[in-house]
């Protein structure tokens, strides 16, 4: 007998045991067949339902219809409770909240509103302003090119100042001392 045939025979014998009938003798079957069938016999006789603590309580709920009413209520709300409905609904609400919140955020305001930077007067820009105002005033007057002694980089140390600085690197560009 092949394993498949033995297995099918075993299933038939188990069905006999479940129907409270004793299977026929085990001639021509493996030696361990009877021992395996004994385990099956033990399993068919095992009933755990007596250990249940909730059997009567649950039955009472069914008889009173409490469970049924709960089922009806949940069936009414079933559509909204379904994950395929509730999840997209939750995601849509979250997205709506984000869309409404984004305009109040600072980077968004900076992008969408016109931004005018504050005017900072540096010595160079002050000189440029002065030059442009002078040139506009002297349209009729003889052309005088004003020479303003404005250092291009007022923060740059002169050679004397640099010499006094012990940690000033030698290769750093310094302006020649003013005459």
């Amino acid at each position: 007998m092949t394993e498949r045939e033995i297995a099918e025979r075993f299933s038939n014998d188990c069905d006999e045991l479940l129907a409270q009938r004793e299977p026929s003798d085990h001639e021509g079957l493996p030696t361990d067949y009877a021992a395996t069938l004994d385990i099956a016999r033990a399993l068919t006789k095992r009933d755990f339902s007596a250990q249940s603590q909730q059997r009567l309580r649950l039955r009472q709920q069914l008889l009173t219809g409490a469970l049924g009413q709960a089922a009806v209520v949940s069936r009414k709300r079933g559509f909204w409770n379904h994950p395929l409905v509730s999840m997209p609904l939750a995601v849509a609400t979250l997205m709506l909240f984000c869309i409404l919140t984004i305009p109040s955020l600072q980077p968004w305001r900076a992008l969408t509103h016109s931004y005018t930077a504050p005017v900072v007067q540096t010595p160079i820009s002050a000189a440029q302003t002065a030059l442009s105002s002078l040139s506009s005033q002297s349209q009729a007057a003889p052309q005088v090119v004003p020479t303003l002694a404005v250092s291009a980089t007022p923060m740059m140390p002169t050679a004397t100042q640099a010499a006094q600085m012990p940690f000033m690197p030698a290769q750093l560009l310094v302006l020649p001392d003013a005459p």
Partner: protein, 189 residues
């Protein structure tokens, strides 16, 4: 428990009545409770959890009884499909939860059972059920469907999607493994 696998003579009428009158479901409940509970116990060791899952299975069955279609299969196959799904959901959730629970850390730290576990284990101790833990999920499911739910191989095949012949082979192999396991514990004559 024997003899409970017999089909109710007026099962179709009871199902139709239970759709409109939940109290009529009680007859189906009385008939199927031992088989459902036993099926759950074969899959879940904890008796309290088995109680909760059994209640959940009957609650789901009552909620969806209007969706039951007699042409698609018998009521027993339908209700055991609900039972299988409920247990699969539970086991999946349990596996996920184990990764994030503090109990898992405790288990890693100590292999010895905790005192409360020892008490619970003694109360519901069953060597056969303990031996079943050594089998794979599929083998346990087939054994539970055969001996707990008392289904024929044909109905097990329609539930699991396997062929009848495969169900027989898996069952036989699983039972042999179970016998070997019990033999090692000195529980086989």
């Amino acid at each position: 428990m024997n003899g409970t696998a017999a089909v109710l003579s007026n099962e179709s009428a009871l199902v139709a009545q239970a759709v409109v009158e939940p109290a009529a479901f009680a007859a189906l409940y009385d008939h199927y409770f031992p088989r459902i509970y036993n099926y759950v116990r074969y899959r879940i060791q904890d008796a309290n959890l088995a109680d909760d899952l059994t209640a959940l299975i009957f609650e789901r069955a009552l909620q969806h009884i209007s969706h039951y279609n007699e042409d698609k299969g018998t009521f027993s196959v339908w209700i055991f499909a609900i039972a299988r799904n409920a247990i699969s959901d539970h086991l999946r959730a349990q596996r996920r939860q184990r990764w994030f629970s503090l109990d898992a850390i405790w288990e890693w730290a100590s292999n010895s059972p905790q005192p409360d576990e020892l008490v619970i284990k003694d109360e519901t101790r069953d060597e056969l059920l303990e031996a079943l833990e050594g089998l794979s999920e599929r083998e346990r499911d087939i054994i539970a469907l055969k001996y707990g739910a008392q289904l024929t191989n044909r109905r097990i095949a329609s539930l699991t999607g396997l062929s009848e012949s495969n169900v027989a082979v898996i069952l036989y192999r699983a039972m042999r493994r179970l016998r070997d396991s019990l033999d090692k514990k000195g529980m086989v004559r």
